[in-house]
């Protein structure tokens, strides 16, 4: 029986898994990629490829075994054909020499690709003072500005390196915010995560530059399972930028990342994302499935976590960057622009869990739907019994372009403390041809008119993005919505 027949025959994950044992994959440790499919062998293969210690492998295996018992979540307002988890390749590494000291040692082909994506690393080093940990497929290839950061005691590396160099930190924090038991995709990620960024800001240090990881999905049929872990110790600060882009492609691709943020007393993490993965073509063919678990814990008093996201890509987005406000007086923020066009589907929002006293959260969500897309905001504001004097303000605005798209808002509010105040506001508006004609009549082209209208709508969120990112985000929005009106 070939792998293909195997995948056709199998309906449920459990069945497949049992059969796999029967067929017993033999994987070549020297191979640059794993064969398609998922079983314990694959998990061991990935761990071995990364030269991981036993404890890391054990953790992966526990996650994998837990995942086997779980069921794919179905509650989101998205529809897609059943994912065949045995038809996915879980590891692929670009061909390169390991342990690079400088960019000169990086495969020039790789650098070329980055340049095509408009991310010339050399330029960035010089111009913007952004340290870049570029993840190409599954292995980190270049980490810059390391020295400057090291002088401050900041650790900015791939998770793989951190496992080797800072096992005590990884052991202490990995999975402490998003345990592998959290949800289906978090469990899957824990079992097979390829790489990602690890950031540690020591006590009292303010990170002098924006930290940034650009990554992209490249190898055919390779799921990307990023794992990011950011720890801000007492009274420290870091701003982290995540920007993604992917080339056009035909096959649906699964992306299931996990991001964990931890702030201790008086610390702050600002996490910004511009997500622009291939959304599929005009007929809804292809595109990336983006099932992400992002969560931060404000563990210390007066600490703050702020999520800002601009989501324009992916065929399906399932993503709820959340804050657990554990420390007293801690603050959680969520600023989001989600754009869907053509056949894209997005079910995104946030969770603000108020546990500590006088905790505050703000949610500003802007959904833009065009074409035949579906855009849902789903948010939970939960105030625990002890969260005396907590406050939340939520604002969810939807904008519709054309009459075949959908916008939905699903706010969930659970309040167990009488002194808490929770406010929710929602609006829906439509970009009309009349608005565009009005702007046309004042000499503004249709394209610029849409940009003006959309940027006006998203202004509150763009204001939260670092400058260069805000410019990039505006451009992305323009591209995503091209030809959607008039």
């Amino acid at each position: 029986m070939s792998e293909e027949e195997l995948s056709e025959d199998m309906k449920v994950v459990e069945d497949v898994t049992q059969s796999e044992y029967k067929w017993g994959f033999v994987t070549d440790i020297e191979a640059d990629e794993a064969p398609k499919g998922l079983n314990e062998e694959i998990v061991r293969f990935i761990s071995a490829k990364k030269g991981e210690p036993e404890w890391m492998l054990e953790w992966r295996l526990k996650a994998y075994r837990y995942w086997l018992k779980m069921e794919e979540p179905k509650w989101a307002k998205v529809g897609y054909p059943k994912i065949d988890f045995q038809d996915i390749r879980y590891y692929s590494a670009p061909k390169q020499k390991p342990e690079l000291e400088s960019l000169d040692e990086v495969d020039p082909e790789l650098i070329k690709t980055f340049e095509k994506l408009g991310i010339p690393i050399e330029e960035q080093k010089r111009l913007s003072g952004v340290a870049v940990d570029a993840v190409f497929d599954s292995v980190s290839v270049a980490t810059t500005f390391k020295k400057t950061l090291e002088d401050k005691g900041i650790i900015f590396s791939s998770v793989s390196e951190a496992v080797k160099n800072h096992p005590e930190l990884v052991k202490k924090y990995l999975g402490s915010v998003v345990p592998y038991t959290d949800n289906y995709y978090a469990a899957l990620n824990a079992a097979v995560f390829s790489d990602g960024s690890f950031v540690f800001i020591p006590k009292g240090v303010r990170c002098p530059m924006e930290l940034s990881t650009y990554f992209r999905i490249n190898a055919q049929d390779t799921g990307q399972f990023e794992r990011t872990l950011i720890i801000a110790e007492d009274s420290s600060y870091v701003s982290y930028l995540e920007g993604c882009t992917a080339p056009m492609r035909d096959n649906n691709q699964l992306h299931a990342a996990v991001v964990e943020l931890i702030t201790l007393d008086n610390a702050e993490i600002k996490y910004s994302t511009v997500q622009n993965w291939y959304p599929g073509d005009k007929d809804g063919k292809g595109g990336i499935y983006n099932f992400v678990t992002k969560r931060g814990v404000c563990r210390g008093v007066n600490s703050k976590i702020s999520w800002t996201q601009v989501e324009t890509g992916s065929a399906i987005t399932w993503k709820y960057p959340s804050c657990v406000l554990q420390g007293d007086n801690s603050v959680g923020e969520f600023y989001s622009v989600a754009v869907t066009n053509n056949f894209q589907q997005a079910d995104t929002g946030t969770k603000m869990i108020h546990l500590g006293k006088n905790t505050k959260s703000t949610i500003i969500s802007k959904g833009i739907s065009a074409g035949r897309s579906d855009n849902s905001y789903r948010g939970l504001v939960k105030v625990g019994k002890k969260a005396e004097g907590s406050r939340n303000f939520s604002q969810c605005d939807s904008m519709l372009m054309g009459d075949q798209c959908g916008a939905h808002t699903f706010p969930y509010i659970e309040v167990d403390n009488k002194s808490a105040m929770v406010e929710h506001e929602a609006t829906t508006s439509k970009v009309g041809e009349d608005q565009i004609f009005y702007l046309n009549q004042r000499g503004i082209s249709t394209e610029d008119a849409i940009n003006l209208i959309v940027n006006g709508f998203c202004k509150e969120v763009f204001n939260e993005l670092p400058m260069e990112f805000a410019v990039e985000a505006q451009k992305l929005l323009a591209i995503s919505l091209e030809g959607s009106v008039g």
């Binding site: 508006s429 004609f437 503004i444």
Partner: protein, 254 residues
């Protein structure tokens, strides 16, 4: 400046303009009057390039160019301006940002440098003074939550800011009290010049006391059935439109 020949236009299959002829020269003010449904607003919208209307016959020559060939934004950049009867609300964009974009788009088209922030502010100061406008309207979103009078005044403010060559006012007087009407008229009069032309579309003679036309045309059933000087407006005010209709005056071109 603009020459309209045998213009026919339909909306959703209904013919509204049925062979309209009109010529307007630089330095002139023309008023178009007529009963409801006669096609006054249609004419303004067709000239501005509204996509809802289809031109089925005729031609419009504007400054030696085929106007109907131009996209709406290019018509605007060529100096054609429409003060809307119902100005559109655009939430989230401040009036100032909107105007700056518009002014600079038009300047770019003319091959002129974009205005600096200082120049732009000076221009705003000069024009708001003419209309006695409150500066707070600039930071508010375009027309959003404006009263009817504020919207109309904002239209004329845009007219002054963009400084076009040919301005069409589509029932700018409707919904204005007498003080606002005077201010708006003052704005339009300050725009008038030898090299500019104005087309005023209105129901009422009242506006024409303040913006005095050189020519008055009566539009009925998609055609201009009578043209005359400013005294024609007074006559209409007195007698209504019915007295003209039986005349079946031949299509008249000024």
């Amino acid at each position: 400046m603009i020459k309209i020949k045998d213009l026919h236009a339909t909306i959703e299959g209904n013919e509204i303009l049925k062979g309209l002829n009109l010529e307007i020269n630089a330095g002139e003010v023309h008023a178009i009057m007529g009963p409801n449904g006669s096609g006054k607003s249609t004419l303004a919208n067709v000239l501005a390039g509204h996509e809802g209307y289809e031109v089925t016959k005729g031609e419009v020559i504007y400054e030696d160019k085929d106007l109907l060939d131009l996209a709406p934004e290019d018509r605007a950049r060529e100096g054609l301006f429409l003060a809307f009867q119902y100005p559109i609300e655009i939430p989230g964009i401040s009036n100032a940002t909107f105007l700056k974009t518009a002014v600079n788009e038009i300047r770019k088209y003319r091959g002129e440098e974009e205005l600096t922030a200082k120049q732009f502010l000076d221009l705003i100061k000069e024009k708001t003074k003419i209309l006695d406008m409150d500066n707070s309207l600039l930071s508010r979103s375009v027309n959003t939550g404006f009263s009817g009078g504020e919207k109309k005044r904002n239209e004329i403010f845009q007219l002054l800011m963009l400084d076009p060559k040919f301005a069409m006012l589509d029932e700018t007087d409707s919904g204005l009290d007498i003080d606002a009407l005077k201010l708006v008229s003052h704005g339009v009069n300050s725009f008038k010049a030898k090299d500019k032309a104005v087309l005023v579309v209105t129901h009422y003679q009242r506006l024409l006391d303040y913006i005095v036309p050189d020519f008055v045309h009566v539009l009925s059933n998609g055609k201009i059935i009578k043209s005359g000087g400013k005294e024609l407006a007074l006559e209409l005010e007195e007698k209504g439109y019915d007295w003209i209709k039986p005349e079946k005056a031949a299509a008249h071109s000024a």
